[in-house]
């Protein structure tokens, strides 16, 4: 349904998007995940035909965006990061205007506007001026604008950023409702935003796709990158525990890359394990400690933040290339 091939955008010497190739199947929801400035908005703008790419092609529902821009653009509904609203118009008039721009037949405009308002749940503000609406409502009007012509493809750029938690969950629910009716590309810089909605996620950093996978697989890879934190009692049944002994035995576990040990003033020993990609060492570490007859006071896995995921992915790429 959406095919991006070798999509590249250069601004002078700066490469905002670097050779991005993704295929989005019909009905699929693709999440574009990356920190601010990663090239998400630039990508969205190229997909919608707002920005011409420096290199590469975009195909929407079988139409090449550059050879047949009009036909391709008819198939797209787009919610930019800043919803494109006219504050002096009422919601209903605004949506009718957008419907005219998107080639909804005049006879069907009224019904299309009503349906879009119903789906975006903004019926109650239909005749309110947009300028007086709250941010959450504006975002929903933006969403209604994107779906008023029932496009097969929806492009949503950070639809939930700059909303409060309640509005955010409302908008997320709306997007879930739209799932199945449209093929959706959705961008965000917050991981939980995509994990519940997207079928596949592209992690993008500095314009490059770092990983393309399902949220479940990505989460698995992330768990594999966890670090494990252990606390061990100072007095063991058999013998005293030395930090060195702890370090040596833990480091011998398969999959463990690095062990750091710290002796607390209270006499307990803290250890921090870092495991290699794809290995979960929690069970093995627990078995080892209890097997030695040491007291296991605590064990916890620490999830990595998005920031650390990027670091992990960049690092593994460097290692892979070396």
């Amino acid at each position: 349904m959406i095919r991006l091939s070798h999509l590249t955008k250069n601004y002078g010497a700066f490469t905002a998007v670097d050779d991005l190739t993704v295929d989005v199947r019909e009905g699929e929801v693709l999440g574009l995940l990356g920190p601010n400035g990663a090239g998400k908005t630039t990508t969205m703008r190229m997909v919608t035909g707002f920005l011409p790419p420096s290199k590469g092609r975009v195909r929407i529902a079988g139409f090449d965006l550059f050879d047949h821009p009009i036909q391709a653009k008819r198939k797209i509904g787009y919610l930019p990061e800043q919803p494109p609203l006219y504050p002096d118009m009422t919601v209903r008039k605004y949506l009718a205007y957008v419907a005219a721009l998107k080639d909804v037949p005049a006879a069907r405009t009224k019904a299309a506007v009503s349906l879009a308002m119903e789906r975006a749940r903004i019926g109650e503000v239909a005749d309110t001026r947009i300028g007086t609406l709250s941010k959450g409502f504006r975002q929903r009007v933006g969403l209604a604008q994107a779906i008023v012509h029932e496009p097969p493809v929806l492009v949503l750029d950070e639809p939930t950023s700059s909303l409060d938690p309640q509005q955010r969950s409302d908008v997320r629910q709306l997007i879930l409702d739209l799932k199945g009716r449209h093929t959706i590309i959705l961008s965000t810089h917050i991981l939980p935003e995509v994990s519940g909605v997207a079928d596949r996620v592209v992690i993008i950093n500095r314009g490059k796709a770092m990983a393309v996978d399902t949220p479940a697989n990505l989460a698995g890879r992330l768990r594999a990158c966890e670090s494990v934190h252990l606390e061990i009692g100072a007095r063991a049944a058999a013998s005293a525990v030395s930090p060195d002994a702890v370090r040596e035995s833990l480091a011998a576990l398969p999959g463990v890359r690095d062990v750091r040990v710290h002796l607390n003033p209270s006499g307990t020993i803290e250890a921090r394990l870092e495991s290699g990609v794809g290995v979960d060492v929690r069970a093995a570490a627990a078995a080892l400690v209890t097997g030695r007859g040491w007291q296991l006071l605590g064990l916890s896995g620490e999830s990595l933040s998005l920031e650390e995921i990027f670091l992990a992915l960049t690092r593994s790429e460097v290692e892979g290339g070396a």
């Binding site: 035909g49 494109p84 006219y86 957008v98 721009l101």
Partner: protein, 261 residues
């Protein structure tokens, strides 16, 4: 065409939601009325003077056809007023869409650049026509009291529409170049004031350059319409400016996509 009409309609509605447009329309109407009544009074007095001279001496050194003189003078003043009003109407045409982020909506819709430019032009032009509407009752009032030629009145109005259309198209183009409304207004003033007065330079009469510049000038062309003459050449002349302005605006709107924003 449907796109252009939708854009034009939205533009007109937004004029009526904007204090700037109301202010421009109000001041334009007020000052027009002021000019008109002042001129009328002045020339009626002159005519009365001439009549008195004829009665006393059997002849007068000047003969005055009040309606013709008043209309010619009035329409020339209106041309000047338009020059002041139009940049205020066109300054926001594209800059405002950029500021609101709605340009992104237009550019990602199945709409051609010329439909955007054409729709914007039509919207501003329709507002201009509405702005000229209050002149009609003024003429009606005058027509009740004398021998006024409807043809001269109509050609004058047509002349203002032609002149205003050319100014709007150029203002639209300048607006598409600027990020700030103020800069767009100033740039448009610069452009249309130059075109208005370009043939009144002090260069030697009859030189090629003077004639060339003169042929670009609004002033001489518009003068015809104030005297009851609108030729096909005049229409083509002003229409060419409209086409030029729309063409440039369309190209420039399209080029906005290449800028990093």
């Amino acid at each position: 065409m449907r796109h252009a009409l939708a854009i034009a309609r939205r533009e007109i509605e937004s004029y009526f939601g904007s204090p700037i447009a109301y202010a421009v329309m109000t001041v334009f109407t007020f000052v027009s009325g002021l000019f008109f009544s002042n001129m009328l009074v002045h020339y009626v007095r002159q005519a009365a003077l001439a009549d008195a001279q004829i009665q006393k001496f059997g002849r007068s050194e000047f003969q005055l056809d009040v309606p013709t003189v008043v209309l010619a003078q009035f329409y020339q003043n209106e041309a000047f007023l338009l020059m002041l009003a139009v940049p205020l109407l066109t300054m926001g045409l594209v800059t405002d869409e950029r500021r609101k982020g709605t340009l992104e909506l237009l550019m990602t819709s199945p709409v051609r650049g010329i439909e955007i430019a054409g729709g914007k032009f039509l919207g501003a032009f329709a507002f201009l026509a509405l702005m000229l509407l209050p002149l009609v009752p003024m003429f009606a009032f005058m027509g009740a009291g004398g021998n006024w030629e409807a043809g001269v009145i109509a050609s004058g109005l047509l002349g203002l529409l032609l002149l205003g259309g050319a100014q709007i198209a150029l203002g639209l183009f300048v607006s598409s170049l600027c990020e700030s409304m103020l800069v767009a207004a100033i740039g448009t003033y610069g452009l249309i004031v130059t075109l208005q007065f370009i043939d009144t330079t002090g260069a030697a009469e009859g030189s090629v350059w003077v004639r060339l510049l003169g042929s670009l000038s609004f002033y001489a062309r518009h003068l015809n319409s104030t005297r009851g003459v609108v030729s096909v050449a005049d229409v083509v002349y002003f229409a060419s400016y409209v086409v030029l302005g729309l063409f440039l605006a369309q190209r420039s709107i399209d080029a906005l996509r290449y800028k990093r924003s």
